[in-house]
Symmetry: C2
Subunit: 378 residues, 2 copies
């Protein structure tokens, strides 16, 4: 295996693949990055037990300046290999595999000889058939993920709750996540010949949206029994799926309400951020919302026995319904409000002090809902 390549183009692709590589893995070869050089170009692969990413650098594209002298494969220690390539002096670099997987990297005045590993020992990638691809506009896909992944559980006691449930049928795609204290659900229109119900690990989705650069317009998704494959540009992103049955969540979302307020989301977010400064110092991290309908007043209260108290007169747009005292974790409300992005008008609906309340964007009440369970404080 021997080639030379444009250093910057190479770094752009290793940055994608690097996301799948963990130095903490128990399988030593997975701390490495695999390079496979074929007639048509170079494929770079990184993998851990959850996700695998490949990125392809085409010989056809003259910008890549890929000159091939001989084909082959090698696995190189990812951390050092990346640091070395980033610090090399030249615009290009040469890479040649010598005897015993020793790999010579040269660029300008620098010459590195790195101990590689036999690529035959690297695990095979999952096989995912790509006949029934679903196509998403990138912006919409990122929105769906970012709006729901905030509600996944980070506790392994119920593994399915660490994932986001994608339900694809004649109604489109419903994406839902819950950690049993809060829930996020977003629906979008999408056409699919097949019906699917899958649970994708939240961490995989978080890495996926970080990997997709802003220049990518479309992303395609292919599903097998225990793997999902996302494809965009020259990148293939594989994630395992979570086994098990996701809970029915539709019945958790209340239909009616006794008190409803509308807010500018960023205004309300600022007030909750201030109130949470003190609640973070108290043992139970709870703030209280007191609504006095007759006075047309809504006030947030936070306190920490050590530091002091805070009172925020909320700047709502409308208030309708009954009086209410309700307590909740301010961090859930902050996450929910941030998921609407910018200055969105939102509606918050309560049924009682002990029932979950919902936050919805005024413009898309039917397709997007954040739900938060209150905390009983008496």
């Amino acid at each position: 295996m021997k080639f030379s390549i444009d250093r910057t183009k190479f770094i752009n692709q290793t940055n994608n693949v690097q996301r799948a590589i963990s130095s903490k893995t128990t399988i030593p070869i997975l701390t490495g990055m695999k390079l496979d050089l074929a007639e048509n170009g170079l494929t770079i692969t990184g993998s851990n037990s959850d996700i695998s990413i490949t990125s392809f650098i085409s010989k056809e594209d003259a910008d890549n300046d890929l000159t091939i002298e001989s084909l082959g494969s090698i696995v190189l220690p990812a951390k050092f290999f990346n640091e070395i390539i980033k610090k090399l002096p030249g615009d290009n670099f040469n890479l040649e595999v010598l005897d015993n997987n020793q790999t010579l990297i040269t660029s300008g005045v620098s010459e590195f000889t790195i101990n590689g590993l036999d690529a035959n020992n690297y695990p095979h990638l999952p096989e995912v058939a790509t006949e029934n691809q679903l196509i998403f506009p990138t912006d919409l896909f990122k929105e769906v993920v970012n709006q729901t992944v905030i509600a996944v559980s980070n506790q392994e006691s119920r593994p399915v709750l660490t994932g986001v449930n994608f339900i694809i049928n004649a109604d489109g795609l419903t994406s839902v996540a819950t950690d049993s204290h809060r829930l996020a659900q977003r629906k979008i229109d999408i056409t699919s010949d097949e019906e699917y119900n899958l649970i994708i690990p939240g961490k995989s989705l978080t890495e996926l949206v970080r990997t997709i650069s802003d220049s990518v317009k479309e992303i395609s998704m292919s599903i097998s029994e225990n793997q999902v494959l996302f494809n965009f540009d020259n990148v293939m992103f594989y994630s395992r799926l979570l086994d098990g049955r996701y809970p029915e969540t539709d019945r958790l979302i209340p239909d009616d309400s006794s008190t409803t307020l509308t807010f500018d989301s960023s205004n309300l977010l600022s007030s909750v951020e201030r109130a949470s400064l003190l609640s973070h110092e108290s043992r139970n991290n709870v703030i209280k919302l007191v609504i006095k309908a007759a006075d047309n007043k809504a006030t947030l209260f936070g306190n920490s026995p050590e530091v002091g108290t805070v009172e925020e007169a909320l700047d709502f747009k409308t208030l309708e319904g009954e009086d209410l005292d309700i307590s909740f974790n301010p961090d859930y409300l902050k996450d929910a409000l941030r998921s609407f992005g910018g200055n969105t008008e939102v509606e918050i609906s309560f049924t009682s002090a002990l029932h979950p309340f919902t936050i919805r964007p005024m413009e898309n009440k039917d397709t997007f809902v954040q739900l938060i369970t209150p905390v009983r404080t008496f």
Copy 2:
């Protein structure tokens, strides 16, 4: 105590004072920030066992929008107080001390009540006479500190070596620091009526140069028996001095040399950074420089048994003298080269493989020197 003030101007000053406040202090009141309101303005104070910083906000300056209703003092929990002020909604805020040191802070829709502490229990600031002030241009002072503080020891076994030695006499100011493996010495012209020999803790100097904003043109320095006071703009920065006798360092710097090279500092820095990528993985973190005068070649070698080897053909400007094999810690050379800033031409002089070598800027060979002790590898 009751006043209102411009929030942004207030935050600018608390950001300075905050540098002196540690949440790890064993004296609880020092986790607080002291506010003293007098007729002419507000003084904010923060302190730890090493440094104290005060910042003054004048009533005279209309930009501060300081309206005083009643005078007084209070100590508030620094971390929360700062977070609260930063997140308040209004351009201004009001602060009023109520009974039992309870402090009411209001701004727009927000109302915080914070538990304060009695300002009478706050330690007194050191007393430093300011008759014999030394005046430095800020840029030059920062240069002197940044070029020498890199060589202070971070081990408490010899406390004086954790400081920078300032020697002020008829020759000007000599600033020197050494951790016994390397040494940095910078001399500048300065006029002083008195002679001084003091040791300022390296950490104090690092915080000091961070506190001095780019808009400050001059800084004055006043010295007492065990304290030094730096004054700039409306800020007073006190540091304790280190007790003890600083070692004589002049005799450590060699006068002659057997091999001399000149480099562009940033070129050499890049080569050393690459060579250190692998040495960092080996047990002793050493790289080897091999000079072959007859071949007009100088080569850096680094290696890690696990990862591999690196060879850098150095791109020097001139090479004179005898052949040499010398090994050293690359991190010391990186720190030294960075202290010259940008693309400076530097001269490196060696006497033997076991004696310290020096790095000096070509344009100021007599006033600035970095010295590094090699490592014996055989």
